[in-house]
Symmetry: C2
């Protein structure tokens, strides 16, 4: 195992812009990543809110190559690599590691439901063995509301024990704070990321690693600033403000609303595009959401579009 600093802080599952033919728009993605990094927000590309599983393996490899070749620091990237098919997860995880990514965010195979911990263990272990690269850092992706399949505490312990250092953390998108707290308490010092910023204060107070949140795509500045100053006064009120902002965006389907918000603040309505099975917000709804966010005083400083 090589010495590689564990990833900490705030990361955004970076939304993926599409062109008129629904192909990924790499140049626009590069610009959005630069905006996120300008606010010191890490890049969890190809996550749920990136429509990561709506992209082919080849598209993801091409996009990460475009990003790294454009000078975006791969150490700040935690690309999603967990697919249904073992060879796909291996191929992506190997490529991301070879390109220098700080870690990968790994869904369990999510097609079959009700699978055993033993089966999920083998899924992750096979990937690690087949990638066979000491630089690999796996952050488990626990999101039962979407993937249905997830990681129990006992399974996590087995993985940490068998692959120390390699299995470096988890994103807990269970939506269950008790579960996040249990992870932090059972695995002290390990990299437990909250699934969104509504529990960022509690996560940091308990000893967690930060958060990986959809809303960073629009509020990177607010969330990162709070992460850096959560021990300063008035933390409860600032946490409440973050949560209120998230809830305004989250009144719509999250991915469509994130893209709509970027479309509104950049003036580029093409940003609204999503791949099916998602549906974009219409322009009237974008205007309504935008007006509501502006009335709340929300801005996206430095956004180039």
């Amino acid at each position: 195992m090589t010495d590689q600093t564990p990833m900490r802080g705030v990361l955004s599952p970076v939304v993926t812009p599409f062109d008129a033919d629904l192909r990924p728009d790499a140049d626009k993605l590069i610009r959005h990543c630069r905006w996120l990094l300008s606010h010191d927000c890490g890049l969890a590309i190809f996550g749920t809110n990136s429509e990561g599983n709506s992209l082919s393996v080849e598209e993801k490899i091409d996009l990460v190559d475009r990003l790294v070749d454009a000078g975006i620091d791969p150490a700040r990237m935690m690309p999603g690599t967990g697919c249904c098919a073992l060879p796909d997860t291996v191929k992506l995880s190997r490529h991301m590691t070879e390109r220098g990514c700080g870690g990968v965010l790994m869904l369990p195979p999510f097609y079959y439901k009700g699978v055993s911990d033993e089966g999920i263990y083998r899924s992750i272990a096979e990937v690690i063995d087949r990638v066979g690269d000491d630089r690999l850092r796996v952050y488990l992706y626990h999101i039962p509301p979407v993937a249905q399949v997830g990681f129990s505490l006992d399974l996590i312990e087995r993985l940490i024990t068998d692959f120390p250092g390699i299995v470096a953390g988890i994103k807990d998108s269970s939506g269950d704070w008790d579960n996040t707290r249990a992870m932090i308490e059972r695995f002290p010092g390990w990299g437990v990321f909250a699934g969104n910023e509504t529990v960022l204060l509690k996560t940091m107070q308990a000893g967690g690693a930060g958060c990986i949140s959809a809303t960073c795509n629009v509020n990177a500045h607010g969330i990162v600033e709070f992460y850096k100053t959560w021990q300063a006064p008035n933390a409860e009120q600032r946490q409440a403000d973050l949560t209120a902002l998230r809830n305004k965006v989250g009144q719509y389907v999250m991915i469509s609303a994130l893209k709509a918000t970027i479309a509104h603040y950049s003036g580029d309505m093409d940003w609204r595009r999503v791949r099916p099975p998602l549906v974009e917000l219409d322009e009237a709804t974008v205007a309504k959401l935008g007006a509501e966010l502006e009335a709340y005083g929300f801005t996206m400083p430095g956004l180039a579009g």
Copy 2:
């Protein structure tokens, strides 16, 4: 639209054999397909019970090429092509159509949950438009217990209306007979396949197209024979016998149990292998299941192994 006979009858989601490195074993798959065809059972390769979503796009393309090149009739094939990512579904559906497959069995994109009918409609419509081949025949794959995402009756009607002939049928694996009956009644003459043989008699009585059932991998002869003679006397008892046999296999995780049954009757324990997140049955359990099936008088006539 070209004149292409709609698929009818009994098809098996063909289980996929793996070698010691968990690569698909094409030669063994070819032998199993020949066994199924020898009993006049169609080939729904790459279905749920085929571990279809545990195979990469490249593996599926390679396997179908191997099958067709080996002389297996593609008109009897209904490969699964529905993936999470639009370009993957397009690529697979196009390839299967070009190779002459009788149809494709199309899951909706299944990562995101709670998506709208409009979003699922766009998913299927985009694939049909992008494949752009009059020979394409889409059989929708409705399996909410696994995919979670499925096809409502109104959505099916919209797809049939907009793509007449192309959207040629459905496999209803909802496990809800009322839903299967509702499909048959609302779309008379359309290709509604039951998701398993336990409702095959009711499906045929109501005017359905047949069934696509996991158990065909071991009981193709029994299920096809019943399909061909369901109007003969004693149908209720014969249906009950089929159901009883299925329940014996289904007391274990179905895919592992199917492979275990083939392993037992062929004497080839390598048949047990599954890809994670599934777990194979151990040899003692294989022997126990095999003994139980033999005591029931079950055989697999003509199985080469």
